[in-house]
């Protein structure tokens, strides 16, 4: 059976059309989908004038001053919004984030407690947001100093707290000291803002970061969708073609000749399974490497999970191709069936349209497709970054393995019934 697989692989690699269909077509589709889903080019974006939705819940002189100061930043253009509207926009993906000045901003400023400023964002847009965050640090760090009286007052309040009530004389002395101290610090900051950068960040990082939409790490879901979805759909097409090779052998009479040989007839099917699995693994690997080279998908942090997922995906998909071939009577039948089944499975399984934008009942139906389990598995790896030992991830591996094994068993039965009969 290894001779058979070896022969098939040899034929496969000399068949230019098969090579194009297996590698070039999926690569093209992945590229198109990647652009369509907007999963690429993020890192290269420069922040132009960024429309920043800002929600002012404090509505004090101080919060307004701070917002006005933000607006002067070259990178940021403030758009005032209501909280509900902004959160809605982020959730729908219309906006990346919203900056909220909570009630008590002015007081906190006054008392020197952490500033109730919060950036709520969509984690999928983390790169955009982190760039913005940097701009915000710088500007917001300067807020306490933007009004010298204000800042001086703040400092004195701090000292008052330290000294405690009752000792008015000490307080007056400290105030006098701190006033002169503040003057010199303030001068220093104005003269050379960089030297006080540590102070700035300390204050700037008071911005509370809240994920409104949970997401990936560095790999954008659009890219994962494009790669995993397309790769699995195309894989199903190519395994169907490999399976159809079995019917070619029947039609060409070579199957009969294989049966003359002393090997067990089942080995013919096993040979095809080996071929289908080898080509599947190769195809998936090439697709992920392509996604890495072309779009910067990070595969290197997840090698063991990825390898495991590729292997079981290849196994499940291969068994599908072999099964199809064992059911059909002619190559034409396989082609007809496979196109129909692959398209339907890809559609409901989320190869074409991401599953999470589908209505709930569709998401439930999706579990009958190979595509669903594989794509979710790849999301587990790249987006949810589940560890290899995570039960959700392992469940998907198991499901794919069970799908593959049961389809193979059925294929073996059908092979004996349909293919061997007519030889």
């Amino acid at each position: 059976m290894f001779q058979l697989a070896f022969k098939d692989l040899k034929l496969f690699f000399t068949d230019r059309r098969a090579m194009l269909l297996t590698f070039l077509l999926p690569v093209t589709l992945i590229t198109l989908f990647a652009f369509a889903f907007g999963g690429i080019g993020k890192a290269k974006n420069e922040v132009k004038e960024y429309d920043l939705p800002v929600c002012d819940l404090d509505l004090t002189e101080d919060s307004k001053t701070a917002i006005a100061a933000l607006d002067t930043d070259k990178a940021v253009h403030v758009v005032m919004v209501t909280l509900e509207q902004a959160q809605e926009d982020v959730k729908k993906g219309n906006k990346d984030c919203v900056l909220i000045f909570h009630k008590g901003f002015a007081d906190s400023l006054l008392y020197g407690s952490p500033l109730p400023v919060e950036l709520q964002y969509d984690e999928a847009q983390e790169i955009q947001v982190s760039m913005l965050q940097r701009a915000l640090f710088t500007t917001l760090a300067m807020v306490p100093y933007s009004n010298r009286n204000n800042a001086q007052r703040m400092l004195n309040k701090q000292f008052d707290k330290l000294i405690g009530g009752g000792n008015e004389q000490l307080k007056a002395q400290v105030h006098a000291q701190s006033d002169s101290l503040f003057k010199s610090v303030g001068k220093g900051v104005e003269a050379n803002p960089k030297t006080s950068s540590s102070t700035k960040i300390a204050i700037g990082s008071d911005i509370k970061m809240t994920k409104l939409v949970e997401a990936k790490e560095e790999n954008s879901p659009g890219l994962i969708q494009a790669v995993a979805g397309t790769a699995i759909m195309m894989l199903l097409f190519s395994v169907a073609a490999i399976g159809a090779g079995l019917l070619d052998e029947k039609q060409e009479g070579t199957l009969k000749k294989l049966l003359y040989s002393p090997m067990h007839p089942n080995n013919i099917l096993f040979g095809k399974m080996i071929t289908a699995n080898s080509i599947s693994i190769l195809q998936l690997t090439v697709m992920f490497i392509y996604a890495t080279v072309a779009f910067g998908l990070d595969i290197f942090s997840h090698v063991p999970s990825l390898v495991l997922m590729i292997v079981v995906t290849a196994y499940a998909c291969s068994s599908f191709g072999v099964l199809l071939a064992s059911f059909a009577k002619t190559r034409q039948q396989v082609q007809g069936f496979s196109t129909l089944i692959v398209l339907v499975m890809s559609c409901i399984g989320g190869s074409m349209i991401p599953i999470f934008i589908m209505p709930e009942f569709m998401q439930k139906i999706a579990v009958v497709s190979v595509n669903y389990w594989s794509i979710q598995g790849f999301y587990d790896i790249f987006w949810r970054t589940l560890p290899l030992t995570d039960t959700t991830f392992l469940t998907r591996i198991l499901v794919l393995f069970v799908i593959g094994s049961s389809l193979n068993l059925v294929a073996l039965r059908m092979f004996k019934k349909n293919i061997l009969q007519i030889a």
Partner: protein, 307 residues
């Protein structure tokens, strides 16, 4: 070497084999002669273990086909009726692949392939893809691929159908060489010339039954027909042929020539000439031929081997 007893095969309601029995000795060249649809391929397929018989037994080299198919398969080489090769691979690669299925070691195989390619006159083209080959060349490779494991028994199912005369002669030579080297050969054909030329023994098969069996001489002797008188006429019409065939039931018309099948040509010739004169037929040529397989088949079935 081979015993086939009471072999039956039904395809639904079609009775392809109605109980066939024959046995073949080691080193024998056995011919299965019969027209299309007689059941030759069905017989070969069952003997090659790829088709399950409805009833009957086959024993090859001491192994029962049902209980020990793998040993049987190792003993035999099969040349199927249809050319079955991988067109996108070279002849050499095809042979390497087919040979590897029989567990021939790679070194041995390469040596064998080299010999066989020389034998079949295809050594120069061995690296060309099979799809660039002519029909005759493909047939030769098709045969070669069954010989790589040096089988004791070779089954050949109509190996010369649709082939150029040059390839045909080459195949004949190879087949004769194989026979001389002691290989047992089962050869099916619907060409009586081939059966007459090669076969030690012939089984005549029609409609799933063996209707006569033996050496060529035995078959000739057992036939009620001894000779064929072939007379060519100048003015044969349908009407006149009608009249002739009333008087002589065992005749066959080929254009202006009538074949009269007879067991006593000396007697019959005079009568035929007399009869022709009465009908006003002008004789152009007379030929008396010894009985051949074609006429034997005709006398047995009333049909011709080829239509």
């Amino acid at each position: 070497m081979i015993t086939v007893s009471n072999l039956k095969k039904e395809y639904g309601t079609v009775q392809a084999l109605k109980g066939i029995s024959f046995s073949i000795a080691e080193g024998e060249f056995y011919g299965l002669l019969g027209p299309n649809g007689a059941g030759k391929t069905t017989t070969i397929s069952i003997m090659s273990t790829i088709l399950e018989p409805t009833a009957g037994e086959v024993n090859i080299a001491g192994y029962d086909l049902r209980t020990n198919p793998i040993e049987c398969k190792k003993t035999i080489g099969v040349v199927p009726q249809e050319i079955a090769l991988y067109n996108d691979m070279s002849a050499q690669d095809n042979l390497l692949f087919w040979g590897s299925l029989y567990g021939v070691s790679k070194g041995e195989l390469i040596k064998r392939i080299d010999e066989i390619l020389h034998l079949f006159g295809l050594h120069e083209r061995k690296n060309d893809k099979v799809k660039t080959y002519s029909g005759g060349m493909k047939r030769r490779i098709n045969i070669a691929s069954a010989l790589l494991h040096q089988p004791k028994v070779l089954f050949m199912d109509e190996p010369t159908v649709g082939i150029d005369p040059q390839s045909r002669n080459l195949i004949f030579e190879v087949v004769e060489k194989l026979h001389q080297s002691g290989m047992t050969i089962v050869y099916t054909t619907h060409y009586m010339e081939e059966a007459e030329r090669f076969c030690n023994r012939i089984g005549v098969i029609d409609s799933g039954q063996i209707i006569a069996q033996g050496t060529l001489d035995e078959l000739r002797k057992s036939s009620s027909i001894k000779e064929t008188i072939a007379i060519a006429f100048a003015n044969l019409t349908d009407e006149l042929f009608q009249k002739i065939s009333l008087a002589w039931p065992e005749v066959k018309r080929f254009d202006q020539t009538i074949h009269f099948f007879t067991s006593n040509s000396k007697n019959d010739l005079a009568k035929i000439i007399l009869n022709s004169n009465e009908l006003g037929l002008d004789i152009v040529n007379i030929e008396i031929m010894k009985v051949n397989l074609e006429t034997i088949f005709l006398s047995l079935t009333g049909k011709q081997l080829r239509d």
